[in-house]
C-alpha cells in the first residue's frame, strides 16, 4: 500500500524495551513512526483518541507485551476485540513468556503472531527487520 505509512504502536511497560525497539528501528533503517504506551489503558486511549491525545492514524500495527501493570496484554486484547472500531487491529505479541496458556489465550484473541523475545542484540534487530518486511507486504484492513 504505497503512500500510506504504517504506524507502529509499542505497548510495553519496560522503557528499556522501548529503547531496544527504537535502536532496532534505527539499525534496520526503519522510518515508520513509532508510538509508545506503557500499559493497555494508555494504548486504548491512543487508539481511540481519548484523554486529550489524537487517535493513532491507520494503518497501524501493535506490538504488545503481556505482563504490564493496570491493564495487561490479554486484558487489552479482550477489550480491543470487543470494540467495533478497533477489533480488526493487527497485533503481534512480543513477550518473554513461554507459557502455553499465554500463547493459546493470545491466539484465541486473534493475534497475528506470538513471538518470544529470548534474544537480545542482533537477534532482536533481525526480528524487528522481519516485522518490517511483514508490514511492507501485507494489505492492512
Amino acid at each position: 500500500m504505497p503512500g500510506r505509512t504504517v504506524h507502529v504502536l509499542l505497548v510495553e511497560d519496560n522503557v528499556i524495551e522501548h529503547e531496544a525497539v527504537r535502536r532496532a528501528f534505527t539499525r534496520e533503517r526503519i522510518g515508520n513512526p513509532l508510538a509508545a504506551a506503557t500499559d493497555g489503558i494508555e494504548a486504548l486511549a491512543l487508539l481511540r483518541g481519548t484523554g486529550g491525545v489524537e487517535a493513532l492514524p491507520r494503518p497501524y500495527l501493535i506490538l504488545l507485551d503481556l505482563n504490564m501493570p493496570r491493564m495487561n496484554g490479554l486484558e487489552f486484547l479482550t477489550e480491543l476485540r470487543a470494540d467495533p472500531d478497533l477489533k480488526d487491529s493487527i497485533v503481534f505479541v512480543l513477550t518473554t513468556s513461554r507459557s502455553d496458556e499465554d500463547r493459546v489465550a493470545s491466539y484465541n484473541l486473534n493475534v497475528a503472531g506470538y513471538i518470544v523475545k529470548s534474544d537480545v542484540g542482533p537477534g532482536f534487530v533481525r526480528l524487528i527487520g522481519l516485522l518490517d518486511h511483514y508490514w511492507r507486504v501485507v494489505e492492512f484492513p
Binding site: 528499556i16 524495551e17 505482563n67 518473554t96 537480545v120 542484540g121
Partner: protein
Amino acid sequence: MAEPDERVALRDFWEVLEATRAEVEAAVEAAAAKVPSMAALMASMSPETREAQRRLSLAQQRAVLLEGRWDEYLADLRQQGAAYAQMGIEFRDWFGLLGTYRSNVRRHVLPDLDARRVGILWGMDRFTGVAMAEIGESYIAMKEDIVRRAEAEVARFVDLFQNASMGMVIWHLDEPGDPGSFRLVTANPAAARVSGTELLGAVGRQVRELPGDSRAPYLDLWLATLADRAPRSWTAVQGDDPETRRSFAAQCFALREDHLGVLFEDVTERQRMAARLDHHVRELERSNRELDDFAYVTSHDLKSPLRDVRNLVSWITEDVGATLPPTSAQHLKLVNDRVQRMEQLLDDLLEYSRVGRTVDESRPFTLREVLDSVLALQAPPEGFTVALEGDDYTLCTPRMPFEKVLRNLIGNALKHHDRAEGRVVVRADAAGDDRIEVRVTDDGPGIRQEFHERVFRVFQTLRPRDEVEGSGVGLAIVKKTVELFGGRARVESEGRGTAVVFTWPLRWAVTGA
C-alpha cells in the same frame, strides 16, 4: 431247639435268682472288692444306703422279670452308667463284674452241666465279653473326644467373643416383624467398653424397654437383614458435641432362628486421623503448588531485568566499545557472561519447577528410540561413545520426562569427563514385574562417596562454575522427575567411573487433568 418264650424265660430266671441270691451277691461283692475303684465306691456307702440299693434292685428285678416293665430299670441303668463315668469307674471294670455275676448265676443254677458245656458257655462269655468291653471302651473314648473337641471349639469361640476388640452383640427378634421386640441376648466386654456399661444391664431386655432410641434408626435395617439374610452396614454417631462425639462403624448379619449378630467398633480416632492426614496432604499439596508457582513466577520475573542488563551492555559496546579502555571492555564482557550464567540458572530453575506441571500422554517407545533422539540433539564430542548395552525395553509412559532424564544423565557424563576419550553405557534390567532399572555408566573421574546424596540437590555443583559451566540443577531435575514416576535415583561410584541408576515404570497411567 425252639426259641424260648421271653415271659416264661424271664420268670424262670427270676425263680433261680430268688433261690441263689445270697451266693451270687456274695461272689459279685468279692469280685468288686478286687477292683480298686469299685472297692472305694462300696466303702463310701453306708450300710443303710447299700440296703436301700439292694431293695431297689430287687424291686426292679421283679418289675422286669415278673411284670415285663422295663422303663424304670432302663432309666436307672442310664443313671448308673453316668454315675460310674463321673466317679471314674472304667467301663471295662463294671463290665467285668457283669461277667462274674453271670458265671455265678450259672454255677448255682445249673450245677448239673458237664464240664464241656460249662467250658462252652465260659468260652462264649469270655469271647463276647472281651469284645463288648473293648468296643465299649473305645466307643466311650471316642464320644468323649468328640465332646472335648466340641467344647474346645466352643471355648475358642467364647474366647474370641470375650476378647475381641470389636463390639459383638446378639439380638433375638421375639415377635416376627416387630422391631421393638429385639431382645439383647448377649454382649461381649468390648461392646460394653465401646458403647457404655449400661449395655450389660440391657441383656435379656427388649429394645422397647431400653432407654433412649439410639438404635431406632437401624431397627428396620435389622429386620431387613433377618428377612433376606444379607448383611448390612451403617455408621452411627453418638453425641451432639463435636468435641466428644463418637463415630461407630457397624454391621449386622442374620444368625439362626431369628437371631441377629451386630459387630461394631469405635472409629472416631480413625476418622479423626484420616481427616488430619487428609488435611496434611492437602496442606502439603498446596504448599508444593505454591513453591512451584513461586519458583516459576520468580524465575520468570527475574529474567526480565537480566535481559535489560544485557541489552544495556550490548548498547554500550555498540556505541562506545571501540573507545573503551581494555580493562573496561573486559569488565563489560564479564558482566555479560555473568548475566548469561544467571539466565541459565533461572532457565534451569524454571525447568526444575515445571517438572510434573504438564504430563503428556503415555505412548509406547523403546530405550533405543529415546537414546537415538538424545544423541541426535547432543552428539558426543570426538573421542566419546555412547552405547546401549543389554536388552532393549519397550515402555509405555509419557516419553518427554524419560527423555529429559536420559538427556541430563548423558549430558552430565560427557560434560564432566576429564579425559579426551570416554565411553558412556546405558543399560536396563528388569526390576520386578512393572519397572526397569536404568543405569547410565561413564568412565569419568567418579564421585566421592560423601557427595552421592548432595549431587541430587538443587544448585549443587562439585566444581567451580568457572571451570565447568553448570547450574547444578540437572540431577535435581532427574531426581524430581524419577520420583514423580514413583522411582528412585542414586549414584554408584567407587574410584573412577560413575553410574547413575534410576527406576522407571514399564507402564504409567496418567491420572487427573
